[in-house]
């Protein structure tokens, strides 16, 4: 193997992407992944720190130097196994984790140059294993007779299910939608996270022995208390934030105006982009405005382009610096021709006689003092209003707590915004009921929800084995 000095001279390997002109005509994945050669080269850049900061930077504590070393040595299947020791969804995390804010942020190579492309390597190992058809199913502990109900088959729920089944618990996931995956199937578009990858990761959990009951909305179909009465020893609530926020401005209920949740669910979960082959319709607007600056806004606006929009706008009330979206996603959107209307905010929608949106009135903003989030808050500029022609609008300004579980689970403490109050380890005001992910934190990331699932797995195991 090359010397350390030689290895650090290897440049960070670029990952090939679909050409922007081509990719806006399809829903195929944009980044194409590393070849084996590229992966090995990239893996060799890792200097195998004695005290790796990257592991601490990972909410699910992946042995990053460990799996990267195996890639460098050409043991790709071994690398995938290593990943799965702590992470049940590596192919997902390799794609959608904000590595630049986590593991890669603390990589020592990043101090002088570019950090090791940990996310791309994670994706490579997981994809290699899946494509080789050698999905490794680790041995699980013998059944310990305890049963856990997991509510919600999103990132938090899938993670806790994977961790607890390995410890010998019987795990059943209850999912309200008809497919498992939560935001991974209804929210994140195919071009960023192909659904067959989510399916493969869910299938892996099934192989481990996790039962998944879809079309089962807890709170209505059965309550949390009924699950406990049925003999589940603990319940984990990973139901997501899952209720859209609108801005309550005039005309917002006109036809053609969607919440991002609806727009993306139609396109991703229901495959409306393949209408009429699939039965769910979606508006194919020519002038589409997406309100917001987060990842969900980027996913929506890039979906609009692929649905044939001539003009796809991001309307955001601050500047690019304050945008919560990953830089990579903003960059992808720019490459694809999305028009960014920054320091701009909608104030009213105007419709035609059929009630369909035709125009939106927007207002220019300037940045004032920093607000509670530390970002400079936007201040409207008087007299700066003007009209834009739009025929489809997607409101992507955030989500709030879905009330179904809170309103049907007596004694479960909520905060004033309706989120479940939970400790670090997921414990709630009710014994035996744990919660994690967006329903506790509000809208956050896939990996943070997975971290919460992991913490609750540990806490439930302690609770049930230690009699705490």
């Amino acid at each position: 193997m090359e010397t350390k000095t030689e290895r650090v001279k290897i440049p960070r390997q670029h990952m090939t992407e679909q050409d922007p002109k081509v990719r806006i005509t399809n829903f195929d994945e944009v980044p194409l992944g590393y070849s084996a050669e590229e992966a090995v080269l990239e893996a060799k850049r890792c200097i195998q720190c004695k005290k790796p900061g990257c592991i601490a930077g990972c909410p699910v504590e992946v042995d990053i130097p460990g799996f990267i070393k195996m890639i460098a040595e050409g043991d790709f299947i071994g690398a995938a196994k290593k990943l799965k020791e702590t992470n049940s969804l590596p192919a997902v995390c390799g794609r959608v984790c904000p590595q630049e804010d986590q593991c890669e942020k603390v990589c020592v190579l990043g101090r002088k140059g570019e950090p090791v492309a940990i996310g791309r390597l994670e994706r490579f190992a997981a994809d290699f294993e899946r494509q080789a058809g050698q999905i490794f199913v680790p041995e699980v502990a013998p059944p310990n007779g305890r049963r856990i109900a997991v509510v919600g088959a999103g990132p938090a729920g899938l993670t806790i299910a994977g961790d607890l089944i390995k410890l010998g618990y019987g795990v059943t996931i209850f999912e309200a939608l008809h497919k498992a995956g939560g935001v991974l199937v209804y929210g994140i578009p195919e071009f960023r996270l192909p659904k067959r990858i989510v399916e493969a990761e869910v299938d892996y959990l099934r192989k481990l022995g996790v039962r998944i009951e879809t079309d089962a909305i807890i709170g209505r179909y059965k309550t949390v208390d009924e699950l406990l009465e049925e003999g589940y020893d603990a319940v984990f609530l990973g139901v997501g934030a899952g209720a859209p926020v609108f801005m309550n401005i005039p005309g917002e209920n006109l036809s053609g105006i969607y919440s991002a949740n609806e727009y993306l669910t139609r396109s991703n979960l229901m495959k409306a982009y393949r209408f009429p082959e699939y039965d769910t319709p979606i508006a194919r607007g020519r002038n589409v405005a997406v309100i917001g600056g987060g990842n969900v806004a980027m996913d929506s606006v890039r979906t609009a382009l692929r649905l044939g929009a001539d003009n796809a706008y991001i309307i955001y009330r601050r500047t690019e610096v304050e945008m919560p979206a990953r830089k990579e996603e903003v960059h992808h959107a720019q490459e694809e021709g999305v028009q960014f209307m920054l320091l701009t905010n909608p104030v009213e929608y105007i419709g035609d006689e059929k009630g369909w949106v035709r125009q939106m009135r927007v207002q220019k903003m300037s940045l004032g003092e920093p607000d509670a989030s530390g970002r400079r808050s936007p201040v409207p500029i008087e007299g700066s209003e003007y009209l834009i022609d739009v025929d489809t609008v997607v409101v992507a300004v955030g989500t709030m707590a879905n009330p179904i579980i809170p309103s049907t689970t007596p004694g479960l403490e909520m905060n004033r915004r309706g989120y479940i109050v939970a400790r670090e380890d997921g414990g709630t005001s009710r014994k035996g009921i744990y919660a994690g992910g967006d329903i506790v934190t509000g809208s956050a990331t896939v990996i943070l929800a997975m971290g919460a699932g992991k913490a609750s797995a540990r806490a439930i195991h302690e609770y049930l084995s230690g009699g705490k």
Partner: protein
């Protein structure tokens, strides 16, 4: 493999009956929903993996047999697919019970008005109100006699049943709203009205009850996707506030509902729905 439960496989069609030319009754195996559901609640179903999710009110259930009853009118591709199912066939996905149950109390004398396929939605409400001790007057209507549904069933659970047909082929000649107007004009004491049917009918009923401020509950049939409060497709304006039909409804105070908005939003996908149905019919005939 889905477990064989009493009464059939999960989501299996146990019984199918044509109630009129394009109104179909389906009895479906769904044991948990059958046990849990209350009057006024609905299910969302997907006929197959490529299907859309549509809401349908639960008309009745048999917790012993583990079945629920749905009544639907063929209007688009999904309802056409449902109407083409036979006993033994299975619906791919069925989720429920959803929505808030009807608020049931002993109000005194109540009038339940059902129009068209909405008569099916009215049935469980009439039954629950009757069981709660109300005197229930039920008014049902259809365009013509052949399209009238559940007459006998409703007669059994109502204190009085009045039938109206638009063409006068059966019962009172005219609209259900005129029958209600007549009751009000005669000074009949009415403590509450329930109106379930096509949007124009519900709107007219609300106009009829408004002058005397008779509390009027309507059950709305907005377009839905997930139907769990996640997407907002079903948003309606009630008393100037945006509400979600799926989790805040489906029943609302009719005097506060913006029926104009509801009508327009229900037409949002008219073109696509037509295209979808035509494509389906062509493919069917092609075979």
């Amino acid at each position: 493999m889905r477990k064989k439960k009493r009464g059939g496989f999960l989501n299996e069609i146990i019984e199918k009956q044509d109630l009129s030319e394009n109104i179909v009754k389906l009895v479906i195996s769904s044991p948990t929903v059958a046990k849990k559901r209350k009057a006024g609640q609905f299910v969302v179903l997907m006929v197959d993996e490529r299907g859309e999710r549509i809401p349908l009110t639960i008309v009745d259930s048999d917790p012993e047999k583990g079945t629920i009853t749905l009544i639907l009118q063929v209007a688009g591709k999904t309802t056409a697919l449902l109407a083409a199912l036979k006993p033994g066939d299975r619906i791919e996905h069925l989720l429920g019970p959803l929505g808030n149950p009807t608020e049931i109390e002993n109000f005194g004398q109540v009038v339940c008005v059902g129009g068209g396929v909405g008569v099916g939605v009215a049935y469980p409400i009439v039954k629950a109100l009757k069981n709660a001790g109300n005197r229930v007057v039920t008014i049902i209507g259809a365009r013509t006699k052949a399209m009238l549904i559940l007459e006998e069933e409703l007669r059994q659970v109502s204190d009085k049943l009045i039938v109206a047909t638009d063409d006068g082929s059966y019962g009172v000649h005219g609209f259900v709203s005129a029958v209600l107007q007549d009751l009000i004009d005669r000074g009949e004491r009415i403590d509450r009205v329930y109106a379930i049917g096509p949007v124009p009918m519900m709107r007219v009923i609300c106009n009829v009850t408004k002058p005397k401020a008779v509390p009027t509950i309507v059950s709305l049939n907005a377009i839905m996707v997930d139907a769990t409060g996640m997407c907002g497709a079903c948003r309606v304006s009630v008393g100037g506030k945006t509400r979600f039909t799926c989790v805040d409804g489906p029943e609302f105070d009719g005097h506060d509902v913006d029926f104009d908005l509801l009508t327009k939003r229900l037409r949002m996908y008219d073109d696509q729905e037509k295209r979808s149905l035509e494509k389906y019919r062509c493919e069917c005939h092609g075979n």
